[in-house]
């Protein structure tokens, strides 16, 4: 079994750093407007390409630029510019859906990955796209049995991409799944004139709905009002079967998620993939990974369509089922390099010895630890509160752009 490549989402520099620090093999990210998270308030710009590449290449992390929205005529010039700049910045590949993007990337000798939005579900389509791409993301709706058949046929028929290597198959491993076919959805466009396929999904499928027959007024009795909101995909508990399907890349969804989410999920899947490779993957570890994954944003977990059973696993509440959440405490003020002491100003709430704290920032990523010792106004203290200047020993550099949080349990932790 080949070792699976772990691909992490990066919506901003915090998440990018968190993904690198926690052991991803590759990252995917969007720049400017032509990606599925174009609506996000924080998005990378063209000028960030060099910095992204620099941080990733230092750790041998591959970089994939998502250019996977529908493309209009007026976008063609920016597509060309994006690909050109990505090529100049040594970005590894472009993830494409539209044929114009595929064609333009090929013209500029840029490696292409076929996005899941193309919805590839059979070997003939794999063969067709092998003319243009080395890596193909399969449709999210396939079962692992079907995925395995495709990877076996690639091997049997020796289907190779432009690089001359056998086609590599990528699938989604963890994160939000929507009811749309492989992410192609028009719901948000119809209801809010906000096209998901231009990266402006309003996520209105995540709300409560009732089903009423307009002719008779008959309202269908439903157990769950969240009839269009599937639970989140999680494959960590059957990762051995995922590996057995012959996939090369496991993609973690979540470019809109917080850095601590990326840190936690990537750390768990890194451990799981490594355990699988060295033969120590077992039930006990799965239980502890699941407990960790439940701590961060999730709508409850299910197996997606991979195991071919239990369709329609809808979430039952709005928002997250996470057992933990972060509470903002304050911001970084200073770091004394020699003594490795960080200074924070507490702006809200309070913090005490024994609490789990989280520091996030564009260069810091997401660092979580137990607070064992601290000083308030230069004196050792058990507790600090709003307005206090707090110092503590931390092994990593803290910057003024960093934020300090406290991790607390949510109602889901009590259930």
């Amino acid at each position: 079994m080949q070792k699976i490549e772990l691909m992490a989402p990066a919506g901003n520099f915090e998440s990018l750093q968190a993904a690198i620090d926690n052991g991803c093999d590759s990252i995917y990210f969007g720049v400017e407007q032509l990606n599925m998270r174009a609506r996000a308030t924080v998005n990378f710009t063209l000028d960030d390409l060099e910095e992204i590449e620099k941080r990733c290449s230092e750790k041998n992390v591959r970089t994939y630029l998502t250019l996977n929205t529908i493309i209009y005529d007026h976008d063609l010039s920016i597509v060309k510019t994006l690909i050109k700049r990505a090529k100049e910045a040594n970005i590894t590949a472009v993830i494409a859906m539209d044929q114009a993007v595929i064609s333009m990337a090929r013209e500029q000798q840029m490696e292409v990955h076929i996005s899941t939005q193309i919805n590839i579900t059979n070997i003939e389509t794999v063969k067709f796209y092998s003319m243009f791409a080395d890596t193909i993301v399969l449709s999210r709706e396939l079962s692992l049995r079907q995925v395995k058949k495709i990877t076996e046929d690639i091997e049997k028929d020796q289907i190779k991409g432009p690089s001359g290597r056998l086609i590599e198959i990528e699938i989604f491993g963890h994160g939000a799944l929507c009811m749309a076919v492989s992410g192609k959805c028009y719901m948000s466009l119809h209801s809010h004139n906000s096209s998901a396929n231009r990266g402006a999904c309003k996520q209105n499928c995540r709300k409560k709905y009732t089903v009423i027959d307009q002719e008779t007024g008959f309202e269908m009795e439903l157990d769950n009002e969240y009839i269009m909101s599937p639970k989140d995909l999680c494959t960590i508990d059957f990762l051995d079967q995922v590996g057995d399907a012959g996939i090369k890349v496991l993609k973690i969804e979540g470019r809109g998620r917080a850095p601590e989410y990326v840190a936690k999920v990537i750390k768990c899947y890194r451990d799981a993939i490594d355990s699988l490779a060295n033969g120590t993957y077992d039930k006990e570890k799965v239980i502890s990974w699941m407990q960790e994954l439940e701590k961060v944003y999730n709508r409850g977990f299910w197996n997606g369509y991979y195991l071919g059973q239990k369709l329609g696993e809808w979430s039952k509440e709005s928002g997250s089922h996470a057992t933990q959440k972060k509470v903002y405490l304050g911001r970084g003020e200073h770091y004394f390099d020699k003594a490795k002491i960080a200074q924070f100003k507490i702006d809200a709430y309070d913090v005490a010895i024994g609490d789990t704290i989280l520091v996030t920032g564009p260069t810091t990523g997401a660092q979580e630890m137990e607070l064992k010792q601290m000083f308030v106004n230069d004196a050792p203290a058990e507790k600090a509160t709003k307005g206090d200047e707090v110092t503590m020993k931390l092994d990593f550099k803290v910057r003024r752009s960093d934020k300090l949080y406290k991790i607390v349990k949510t109602e889901f932790a009590e259930n």
Partner: protein
């Protein structure tokens, strides 16, 4: 007077404003974002002031259609 303001940087190039108010908006082939024609820029905000009241309705439709709410239309 009709005042139209566009916060151009946040545009995702969806093209709806052009479909609804083609005399006021045009997609730029340079960066794929919309251009508020004949506007004046100040700190990233592009503005036109027009005495032609007939442009209010279509511009307002463009405002309502914008998925990222970056168009402002006022009648003063």
């Amino acid at each position: 007077m009709v005042v139209i303001t566009l916060q151009r940087k946040k545009c995702i190039g969806c093209n709806y404003c052009v479909e609804l108010a083609p005399a006021q908006f045009q997609m730029s082939k340079k960066d794929g974002k919309t251009v508020l024609l004949h506007s004046i820029e100040k700190k990233g905000f592009f503005t036109i002031k027009s005495f032609d009241e007939s442009i209010f309705d279509c511009s307002n439709e463009a405002k309502k259609a914008c998925p990222v709410n970056i168009i402002e239309v006022k009648q003063i």
